[in-house]
Amino acid sequence: MTADVFIFWFLAILTIVSALSVVLMTNPIYSALSLAMTMVSVAAIFVTLQAYFLAGVQLIVYAGAVMVLFVMVLMLFDLKNELQAFSRGKFTGAIKVGAVGILAGLIVGAVGSFIMAGKSGAPVTPEASTSADATKALSEHLFFNHVFGFEALGVLLLVIAVGTVALSRSKGGTHAKH
């Protein structure tokens, strides 16, 4: 068992366990912390896939900014343990769990059987490249081929920022008299 394999299994289990705890924890703060854990392990998985830049962004944006947002909101609400963390309805609940299970089974089965079948085209193991090379390739691609999308994202973010402010302000705006 090489280090690669060990690292993969370690990260995979870590991701799954923390993801499960996001869903299962009744206290939202624990969920948030588990989510942060998941984000970090996903970032690590990115590293194993040699997407170094993305791993960084993942850490900064998700594990950093987004998680802070979540935690701040949670703090704002000051939530205790919920009495009813899960939706009511045993029947629909069963359907939901069953559906999710079947879906997972289907995908896993499909992916597994696909690889089994397509043995001939054995996955090309790309040559290891340095983090700088990979990042350079990404940025070139991003700014040469997808610059319009990139700019559009910028506009989107601006709109989102304005929209968020508009949504979360008090009724009547900042200057309104109550």
Partner: protein, 108 residues
């Protein structure tokens, strides 16, 4: 031996299966949890699962486009989280609750 090769040969399908499992967990969260914030977290999980797939494909097929897409997804995810949480705040202000059921009032 298939069993050992499954454990020792890490191939594209390992990553994809991981992604699928992560996605399913997120989905289960979306379907089952009532706290709207946890719901958003579950959505993040699903997005991350998708990201893993993208990066995996990008890595194994040696195409950078997948990573560009992940980049976009992250941005969208952040935006979505911002708006969603703003909505959650509004709901909380009105009902002092963050139960998803209060969103039913939006149906009109």
């Amino acid at each position: 031996m298939p069993s050992t090769s499954f454990l020792t040969d890490i191939s594209i399908n390992h990553y994809l299966i991981l992604s699928a499992i992560l996605f399913s967990i997120g989905m289960a969260g979306v379907l089952l949890r009532r706290n709207i914030i946890v719901l958003f977290m579950s959505i993040e999980l699903m997005l991350n699962a998708v990201n893993i797939s993208f990066v995996t494909f990008s890595h194994y097929f040696d195409k950078v486009d997948g990573q560009v897409m992940v980049f976009f997804v992250m941005t969208i995810a952040a935006a979505e989280a911002a708006v969603g949480l703003a909505l959650a705040v509004s709901i909380f202000k009105r009902f002092k609750e963050v139960n998803i059921r209060f969103f039913e009032h939006l149906k009109g």
